[in-house]
């Protein structure tokens, strides 16, 4: 293999794929990135056995071929080479990759490309496409609620599925950690109607979100019960899905919350953030006291003191106090696009609903704290 590639193209492509490579690996080959050169293109592949990312970039291919080298090392080299330089990659004696750029020369130990694990994606019968913006919305408004607790591994991802609602079928992304739940929905794209419900792992969600950041076009999605593939631009990400059953979340979304609280979302978030200054990093509960048009936020920390702030709000219902984890509350308010947030309450022990007036397809459920 002999190939010449522009440094910025190499750096960008490597930057995209290397993030999936774990810093510590029991199998040396998993620390490596696979480089394949053929027909005017170089394609780089990295995997952690659960996710595989392949990205292509243009290059001058002198002699086609393939090998694997340590991903983080090659990335660091590319990072430190001067902007605009031309990088030559040349495989010598089958086990060394010589990297040259200007007067710099590096020799990296290679592992054979045949040892590199290829993810067998199998048959992916369900295929549809989302505009990058749609995918970003589904991810952003749900991912903060994903659980990190391994005991409930089936909550460690976003549940993507087609649900029946009063408006007919909707494509839904749902995430929960048992304390809050986020549900985002949109029209079902062509080809998705018959798809099975799948749980996309947290790490995959994070990788996709990073890669799709600068992308505007269409993202093609193909999936089966066990694998999902995202293709866009020059990138293909294939991932295993979480093998588990997402709980029936619909029963935890309360239907009869009749007390409605409405207020300016930004002011609410800022006030919540301000009063929670007083809570030590260990206690995070903030109390909301609703009475007519006044909402009082208060934090009472036995260690550090107290804080209260009054807000103008529209509230229909008898006076009530309810406690929330302020961090969870702020996570939700950060996702609200509109000026106004609507809160639907039942009683101080019951799950509470938050809604975004600007985005009717997004719904959040927050469990109050026992105080």
């Amino acid at each position: 293999m002999k190939v010449s590639i522009e440094r910025n193209a190499l750096l960008k492509t490597l930057g995209h794929v290397q993030s999936v490579v774990e810093r510590r690996n029991t199998m040396p080959i998993l620390s490596n990135v696979m480089i394949e050169a053929d027909g005017g293109k170089v394609s780089l592949t990295a995997t952690d056995l659960d996710i595989a990312i392949v990205e292509e970039t243009e290059a001058k291919v002198g002699r086609p071929g393939a090998t694997t080298v340590p991903a983080h090392t090659l990335f660091d080299i590319a990072r430190k080479l001067p902007d605009g330089s031309e990088v030559d990659l040349s495989l010598e004696d089958g086990d060394r990759l010589v990297v040259t750029a200007g007067r710099s020369r590096f020799t990296l130990a290679c592992l054979d490309r045949d040892e590199f694990p290829v993810m067998n994606e199998g048959n992916l019968p369900h295929r549809f496409a989302l505009v990058a913006g749609e995918l970003k919305r589904l991810i952003d408004k749900a991912r903060f609620a994903v659980s990190t607790e391994e005991t409930r591994y089936y909550l460690n991802g976003i549940y993507l599925h087609v649900a029946e609602s009063s408006e007919g079928q909707r494509l839904r992304a749902v995430a929960t950690d048992g304390h809050r739940l986020a549900q985002v929905e949109q029209d079902v794209p062509d080809g998705a109607a018959g798809m099975p419900g799948v749980i996309v792992p947290r790490k995959t969600v994070a990788e996709i979100r990073k890669l799709v950041e600068e992308y505007e076009g269409e993202v093609k999605i193909a999936l089966s019960d066990t694998k999902i593939r995202f293709s866009f631009g020059h990138v293909i990400v294939t991932s295993k899905l979480i093998d588990g059953t997402f709980p029936d979340y619909s029963r935890v979304i309360p239907q009869g919350n009749d007390k409605r609280l409405e207020m300016d979302c930004r002011l609410f978030a800022e006030a919540t953030d301000r009063v929670s200054t007083i809570s030590s990093d260990k206690t995070r509960s903030v109390k909301l006291s609703m009475n007519g048009d006044t909402l009082t936020l208060s934090v009472n920390s036995p260690d550090s003191g107290t804080a209260t702030e009054e807000l103008q709000a529209a509230y229909t219902g008898d006076p009530m106090d309810i406690g929330f984890n302020s961090r969870y509350l702020l996570d939700i308010l950060a996702q609200v696009e509109g000026d106004t947030v609507q809160v639907f309450l039942a009683d101080p022990q019951a799950p509470t609903i938050l809604r975004d007036l600007m985005d009717e397809g997004a719904l959040y459920v927050l469990m109050p704290m026992r105080v």
């Binding site: 659980s147 607790e149 005991t151 409930r152 950690d177 304390h179 206690t283 984890n325 469990m367 704290m369």
Partner: protein, 436 residues
């Protein structure tokens, strides 16, 4: 030769004398201690001598002249303390009991009576607290004290007050202690260990380097077996070798540890004596009567340890975000698994549920001799065990456990329990301290 200050440990008389050991000119006692810096040093370490055994001998004078071993008496028991007579036969702490019995066949072996030891330990601690508020307990029978600035208050330098404390403890509690007095914690601890039992050893800034030089590196605080092996591979075994090396060289080779080695080898230790050392983990473990490989049998033991850990957390007002399962194989290899939760817990149910989940893949037929579970990364209990949206069972179990705790608070620990906690097999509890 300039005369050095002396202190008589029986009559607390102060005089100048030397060189060499000098009896007290006032009362004739030969238990005197001298050091050029005697009246200036303020950091002390005190350690009760063969604590558990001494207490048992105090309470049963017929044991006085017999070798006495305290520890687990079952087949798998371990020595927690051996009296000084038993130590003559080579019996040491942490030694398997069968080996101890072989070395010292005529020893009296007793199960530990932790309640009694704890009571005496707290009495000792209360007496220390009369000298200074800066008492840092290391364990039930061991503590650091910082007596800086107390000379005006007590009208005597720390050395005198410490000698009085040792005498008071002997008289009032009936046990003996050994004291180390030095400029810092590392040297104080080293000193208290040098003349046990009933010792009083002083190390000053002036003689620290010379005292440390011939000692093995493993005596340095924080150098464990692994570090010692690494140093040995590099040809370093004695502290004197470290004393001859540059700090930069040690740092290059050993990182932060290198810097610590450099300073500690010279007797320099900047750690402060701090009265409230935060609890970092709460755990409970048990050495099993016989090795167990069966998941169900291990789960039974896990449940009881989860209950004990939960009890500890609740008592201390702590809630743990991280749960750690600990196992020891029959080959004495320690296996641990940790898991961090989304929100902290105090509940035995949750500790058990998560612990069992980590245990399952480890119960692959490997026989285990010890099982335990602990919590760390503490958060406020207010945040703990909040109602769960997805699993109403979690909420119900939490409510049930709180009801159980309330009943126990009212009627005692054994008033009510889960069926799972009924004893299946008896096992000897580890007398090890269950707090780190």
């Amino acid at each position: 030769m300039t005369p050095v200050p002396f202190l008589c440990r029986d009559g607390f008389h102060r005089f100048e004398g030397g060189p060499g050991p000098t009896p007290c000119p006032v009362c004739g006692s030969r238990r005197t201690v001298s050091h050029a810096e005697l009246e200036r040093l303020t950091i002390a370490h005190m350690d009760c001598d063969a604590f558990y055994a001494t207490i048992e001998k105090r309470d049963d004078p017929s044991l006085k002249d017999k070798p006495l071993i305290i520890g687990g008496t079952g087949g798998r028991g371990v020595v927690s303390t051996a009296c000084y007579i038993a130590r003559l036969s080579g019996v040491r702490s942490a030694m398997p009991m069968y080996q101890a019995r072989k070395l010292c066949p005529d020893a009296v072996v007793m199960m530990p009576n932790m309640g009694k030891y704890k009571e005496a330990g707290l009495q000792v601690r209360a007496m220390m607290a009369r000298l200074t508020p800066l008492v840092e307990p290391v364990s039930i029978d061991e503590a650091f004290m910082d007596l800086s600035g107390t000379e005006r208050l007590h009208g005597a330098p720390p050395a005198v007050m410490l000698a009085r404390l040792a005498a008071d403890i002997e008289r009032e509690i009936g046990i003996t202690i050994s004291v180390g007095l030095a400029p810092n914690k590392f040297l104080a601890k080293l000193a208290s260990d040098m003349q046990k039992p009933r010792g009083f050893t002083v190390i000053g800034e002036g003689d620290a380097k010379a005292i440390l030089a011939p000692l093995p590196i493993s005596r340095i605080y924080g150098v464990g077996a692994q570090m010692a092996t690494k140093l040995q591979k590099d040809g370093l075994t004695m502290i004197s070798q470290l004393q001859g090396m540059d700090e930069s060289r040690l740092v290059r080779r050993y990182g932060d540890m290198g810097s610590r080695l450099y300073h500690l080898a010279r007797g320099e230790d900047r750690r402060r004596v701090s009265a409230d050392q935060p609890v970092k983990s709460v755990s409970s473990e048990i050495t099993l009567d016989r090795d167990l490989a069966d998941l169900a049998a291990l789960e039974n033991h896990l449940w009881r340890q989860a209950e004990r850990t939960s009890e500890g957390l609740k008592k201390k007002g702590l809630a743990a975000l991280t749960i750690t399962l600990k196992l020891k194989t029959s080959m004495h290899r320690i296996v641990t698994r940790s898991r961090t939760l989304d929100t902290p817990t105090q509940l035995a149910e949750t500790l058990f549920e998560v612990g069992r989940d980590m245990l399952k893949p480890l119960a692959d037929g490997t026989p285990y001799r010890l099982i335990g579970i602990g919590g760390s990364q503490f958060r406020s209990p207010e945040e703990a065990d909040q109602p769960d949206l997805i699993d109403p069972g979690r909420t119900k179990r939490a409510t049930a456990e709180r009801a159980l705790d309330a009943l126990r608070a009212k009627f005692g620990r054994d008033a009510i329990g889960k069926g799972r906690s009924l004893p299946a097999k008896t096992a000897v509890d580890n007398p090890e301290k269950n707090q780190k």
